[in-house]
């Protein structure tokens, strides 16, 4: 596209009062020979917008630099189809946080316009990615338990074809063993209706069910997955667009429990899961001799909430124990039934069932550390009752039921990142040392068998749950187009699992719809740009294939990166990782940001006007900077801000570019990394810090001080801290002295 540039300067909201607009306009007209440059007192008004529209229609303007307010506001007014639009934020980030009619304020505004003109010159309108093969809108659901079946049925009801794969011979999963359940409205036990769900799923013409089946391999990418399903001795291939992982959980291995819980010491010590099987098959009886149960104790948190076993809480065991206790009581109203708990957890309306259990005559004992003693068929539980303040001994127990927790099926199997590579361990180790990046935990759990360079299953962050640990976006896993649902994601009740499964297939549907339009999924939804690689210059360094948080790249046998654009989230982390700078997007590139940096005017040393480049995360730090303006807090006039899609897209060449042109310091604003990371692209801010740790080489080469480059964690609500941080950095720069490269 041939760029016909037009510049529009709004003089409203105090801009015209604080700046010399005529001089500002000269940056466009005189310096850059921009053919169209207009000012308007209220550019976002209908009249202002019409002014721009008439230039688009009449003059063929197609590349617009709009110097006005932040791009975060008036987005609807300045939305022009088929035009490259850049918003030059001279309101929030210039006149609202700078001294009016000051030489430095004017220089700042002029620089921002220069930077914008350099930017739009390097931008193209993105064209959506269209794969050669047709995009499939079918969805694979892995796991035929309650969650998986719910996903499949809900997806089919919305009109999508679903392939459902279950490893067992029949559908139903764990719920097959559960005869009765407690769910909304939590007043009483209800019959489990899993059979109705099975019938609805098997009877639905849009659902293809494979039982006794496993997935041999999953290759491809969203919209283009190829799945090989092995069932009944033969392999079937399906093309699907997205995947719901609802592979469920296994009970924690009771043989690993502490000895004092006496599992294995007597047949009459069983787990909550074993209780379900017994209750389903027959009546509740003493396991050792099938005698009636007169006394029973339920011990909660067996191997749970315990750093030596499962550090988390499985959420549902309290309610399960209450139900099972009521089931014992229902069978024998004279039975003495005890629940020994650390903390009874029945959130929401489930509290009603706790009340019912109390009314039914269940005895509750609060004890942190009960002990089970087995002697023949009889069991004793000793418990320090915290409420009574004394030791309670429960004697003549016919049965002790241990509440063991849920372990996601993704927790089983060796850790892929610890495996030896084919080339041998040496190389792998060397790579790791060089890279110093903590590899994700991916276990060979034999569920999806992804043909992904980064590993065969979904990465887990904590406790082997394949969850990204986003509070706001719980469905986002680390693999685009694959959404986890149900207890594989976190322990949850049946009611929650059904809802979760419905939500997960919603995300899968959304993924196939967006992918078919060539658009990105969360969080840059709708983004049509995607990375393009100039392969002639690739050195097979593997950084892009290793660093992509979403595993978008595969590798060929020569270690060439093979991008999968439909797996891409458009964060630009690969672009930042590439030392050869061969990765770019149509509207976001190393060259584009580099050109913006080069457009900054750096005054001579004797002018005593230092320059600090701020590369900031556009998701959180940029809005925080807007807030400093909105709050009319004053910021140093020497800063120049460039927003990045993610701080992880930072390429070290920009640092070198900036320093070699005389910019005195560089400060980076990114999100909090680590366990409680806030980066929308998971590892972006961490990777930025990791790359920056290597900046020493560049600085040494230029014989510059390390203090000139700094990274700061900035959350979106940290606006109050920003002026301080910037001021403190300016002081540091003053101490270090001017960059000797000025004027080179």
């Amino acid at each position: 596209m041939e760029h016909k540039v037009a510049v529009y300067i709004c003089t409203g909201c105090g801009i015209g009062d604080a700046l010399d607009i005529e001089e500002l306009g000269k940056v466009a007209t005189s310096e850059n020979s921009v053919p169209i440059c207009k000012t308007h007192p209220n550019l976002c008004s209908q009249e202002g917008v019409e002014l721009i529209k008439s230039d688009i229609a009449g003059e063929g303007a197609n590349t617009l630099a709009i110097a006005a307010c932040s791009p975060r506001v008036m987005y609807d007014a300045f939305d022009f189809e088929n035009c490259i639009v850049d918003r030059v934020n001279i309101r929030e980030q210039v006149v609202w946080c700078q001294k009016p009619n000051d030489e430095d304020t004017q220089m700042m505004a002029e620089d921002y316009l220069r930077m914008s003109l350099a930017k739009v010159e390097k931008m193209e309108l993105p064209e959506p990615y269209q794969p050669e093969q047709e995009v499939s809108k079918n969805i694979l659901v892995v796991g035929g338990g309650l969650s998986g079946m719910t996903s499949a049925l809900e997806g089919a009801k919305a009109g999508y074809s679903v392939v459902l794969v279950e490893k067992e011979a029949q559908l139903g999963g764990f719920q097959n063993n559960v005869k009765q359940k407690v769910t909304f409205p939590y007043k009483d036990v209800q019959d489990n209706d899993i059979d109705n769900l099975i019938a609805a799923v098997t009877g639905h013409d849009k659902i293809a069910v494979y039982t006794g089946a496993n997935i041999e391999k999953t290759s491809g990418a969203p919209g283009l997955f190829d799945v090989s399903i092995k069932a009944n001795g033969s392999t079937v291939d399906h093309k699907v667009g997205a995947i719901v992982l609802a592979a469920g959980w296994k009970p924690y291995d009771p043989t690993k429990l502490d000895e004092k819980l006496a599992f294995g010491a007597s047949d009459n010590v069983i787990t909550n899961a074993m209780f379900e099987e017994m209750f389903k098959e027959e009546k509740i009886a003493r396991p050792s001799d099938k005698q009636d149960v007169k006394n029973a104790a339920f011990l909660q948190c067996a191997g749970q909430r315990d750093p030596n076993h499962l550090p988390y809480c499985s959420s549902i065991c309290c309610l399960t124990a209450l139900r099972q206790a009521c089931q014992v009581k229902a069978q024998n109203p004279d039975a003495n039934v005890y629940v020994v708990y650390k903390e009874l957890r029945t959130p929401g309306q489930a509290e009603d069932f706790y009340r019912k259990a109390q009314e039914d005559g269940i005895t509750f004992i609060r004890c942190q550390d009960p002990e089970v003693k087995a002697s023949g068929n009889q069991l004793t539980v000793e418990a320090d009752d915290e409420l009574l303040g004394e030791k309670v001994v429960l004697e003549d127990l016919d049965m002790v039921v241990l509440a063991t927790g849920m372990v996601p099926v993704t927790a089983f199997g060796p850790d892929f990142s610890m495996e030896e590579t084919e080339e041998g361990e040496e190389e792998k180790k060397k790579e790791e040392e060089e890279e110093d990046i903590i590899a994700d935990i991916i276990r060979r759990s034999d569920i999806l068998n992804l043909e992904y360079r980064q590993g065969p299953e979904l990465p887990a962050l904590r406790n082997d749950f394949p969850d990204s640990h986003f509070i706001c976006f719980p469905y986002e896993t680390r693999r685009t187009g694959i959404y986890a649902a149900g207890c594989v994601r976190r322990p949850m009740s049946t009611a929650t699992a059904m809802e979760d499964a419905t939500g997960a297939i919603m995300k899968a549907i959304q993924c196939v719809e967006l992918t078919s339009r060539g658009a990105a999924v969360h969080p840059r939804v709708g983004d049509l740009s995607f990375p393009e690689l100039f392969m002639q210059r690739c050195t097979q360094c593997k950084r892009c294939t290793m660093e992509c948080p979403f595993g978008a790249y595969n590798e060929d046998e020569k270690a060439n990166p093979l991008p999968n654009p439909t797996r891409c989230r458009r964060c630009g982390i690969c672009m930042g990782s590439c030392p050869e700078r061969i990765i770019s997007f149509k509207n976001y590139s190393v060259d584009m940001i580099g050109s913006m940096i080069k457009a900054i005017e750096v005054p001579e040393e004797d002018e005593e006007k230092p320059r600090v480049l701020m590369l900031v995360c556009e998701n959180d730090a940029y809005p925080a900077l807007d807030m400093t303006g909105l709050k009319r807090m004053e910021l140093s006039p020497y800063i120049r801000v460039i927003p990045l899609r993610c701080l992880g897209s930072i390429n070290l060449v920009w640092i070198a570019d900036a320093l070699s042109k005389g910019i005195d310091g560089i400060i980076l604003f990114g999100c909090r990394p680590g366990d409680d990371y806030q980066c929308h692209f998971i590892t972006g801010s961490e990777l930025a810090q990791y790359r920056l740790a290597k900046i020493a080489e560049t600085l040494d080469r230029l014989v510059l001080e390390s203090e000139r480059v700094r990274v700061e964690e900035i959350a979106i609500i940290d606006w109050e801290r920003i002026p301080e941080i910037v001021e403190e950095f300016m002081e540091t720069i003053e101490e270090v002295g001017p960059n000797p490269y000025k004027g080179w």
Partner: protein, 420 residues
């Protein structure tokens, strides 16, 4: 059901669940409308300082959601709007929406000249009445949409014309009247959220009587930079730094005289707030009075972390009564120590009541017949054919759960309009 006119989804409530439903459905290609009664989107989470367990600001996620709205023409939203009536049937509903006057039109640039000209002050609802704001105001620091609101009291006052004249963009419209608007939609998702249980009903806790008794929702405003004290946690009575704080769990929850159910989130919210106190006052003594700490799934690890703080004491017992020392305005918490069965008196500088979540449907039900449970929660996601309930009007939930629920509701609504 392929009526193109009604191939859209109405979402009532622009909080976390409603936003989620609308955005998720729109991103799958469906037209959605959000109707929100406040002048801003974001609901209760916009009023939170941090989320547990990551201790990160809700605005981080809201900003992304707002960006998703800004770039998606399929989502339209109406603030200061309420649903008056719904008629019709699944796939073809007629909805009447009432638009309350903002007295500021779409020409507003957010420049703030109106507020500068205004001297009248009103109670700041966003901060639960803990401070005052100008009667021409931005609802809160990061409000979306970023547009001013003029309080009706100002419109009626002598100052109205002065404020109108101060606007350089002719954005103040003092003659704005309530309007009604008709929408045709195929499905409705009701997601009107919750409100904190009225602490004044807890008569032994002296909420309105003793200034240093506040609620958990107020505590989040106190800790927020955009709150009444610019983020300083101080005693409302004298602005002093508290040396001791008591968090009182189940204030009205799990109590048959108030809310018989458990609100699920208050334990975690109090522990989160304990971290706010700890950050500002490294030596403050913090008590958490509780019945059971309900930290399910990985939230248990957050509980574990909080327990490591030696100055946070988890005190098993329900506070029976709060009294005030009139001279110091300090509080005395009478609590039965269940482990020793003694009645103890614990003096604190400030008390935070962990009041529970009450569904807004308990007071303002959906304007069509749907089943509710004993507490005013909508009995199921499928409330009625074509009408779905999402978020805290179904069960007390944390943010993550509400997002799941909102996403699920989006699919149910799509099923109502797009059976292929």
């Amino acid at each position: 059901m392929a009526n193109t006119e009604t191939q859209s989804i109405l979402v009532v409530g622009g909080g976390m669940s409603g936003l989620t439903t609308a955005i998720e459905a729109a991103e799958a290609g469906y037209d959605t409308y959000i109707v929100e009664k406040n002048p801003y989107l974001g609901g209760r989470v916009a009023q939170l300082h941090n989320y547990f367990p990551k201790l990160c600001p809700p605005y981080c996620g809201l900003e992304i959601n707002f960006r998703r709205i800004k770039q998606n023409p399929k989502i339209r939203f109406f603030t200061m709007a309420e649903v008056e009536s719904i008629s019709g049937e699944e796939g073809n509903f007629d909805v009447k929406i009432r638009l309350n006057p903002r007295y500021v039109n779409e020409k507003c640039t957010g420049c703030g000249e109106c507020a500068k000209a205004c001297t009248m002050e009103i109670e700041n609802q966003f901060n639960y009445g803990m401070d005052k704001i100008k009667a021409a105001y931005m609802p809160h620091a990061m409000a979306f949409p970023m547009r001013y609101v003029i309080d009706p009291a100002l419109v009626k006052s002598d100052e109205a014309q002065k404020v109108k004249d101060a606007c350089p963009y002719d954005a103040v419209d003092l003659d704005m009247e309530p309007k009604t608007m008709d929408l045709k939609v195929g499905a409705v998702v009701w997601a009107t959220g919750w409100h904190p249980y009225d602490a004044a009903k807890l008569d032994t806790y002296g909420f309105n009587e003793f200034p240093n008794v506040i609620t958990n929702v107020m505590m989040d405003r106190l800790a927020a930079l955009s709150g009444p004290t610019e983020g300083k946690i101080i005693r409302p009575s004298d602005g002093k730094a508290p040396e001791t704080i008591g968090f009182i769990q189940c204030a009205g929850s799990r109590d048959e005289n108030h809310l018989p159910y458990c609100s699920g989130i208050c334990c975690l919210a109090s522990m989160k707030q304990a971290t706010y106190v700890r950050e500002q006052y490294p030596d403050a003594k913090i008590y958490i009075f509780y019945i059971d700490i309900r930290a399910t799934d990985r939230l248990e690890e957050f509980y574990y972390k909080i327990k490591q703080d030696e100055n946070i004491e988890f005190f098993k017992g329900k506070v029976a009564k709060i009294t005030e020392d009139e001279s110091t305005k300090g509080l005395i918490l009478k609590v039965e120590d269940t482990t020793s069965e003694e009645l103890r008196e614990v003096p604190v500088d400030m008390a935070v009541l962990a009041t529970g979540m009450q569904p807004n449907t308990a007071e303002t039900p959906i304007p069509v017949q749907v089943p509710y449970d004993d507490y005013g929660f909508v009995a199921s996601l499928d409330a009625a054919p074509g009408i779905y309930a999402a978020g805290c009007i179904r069960t007390p939930n944390n943010v993550s759960e509400v997002v799941q629920d909102g996403t699920a509701a989006a699919l149910k609504a799509i099923q109502s309009i797009a059976r292929r």
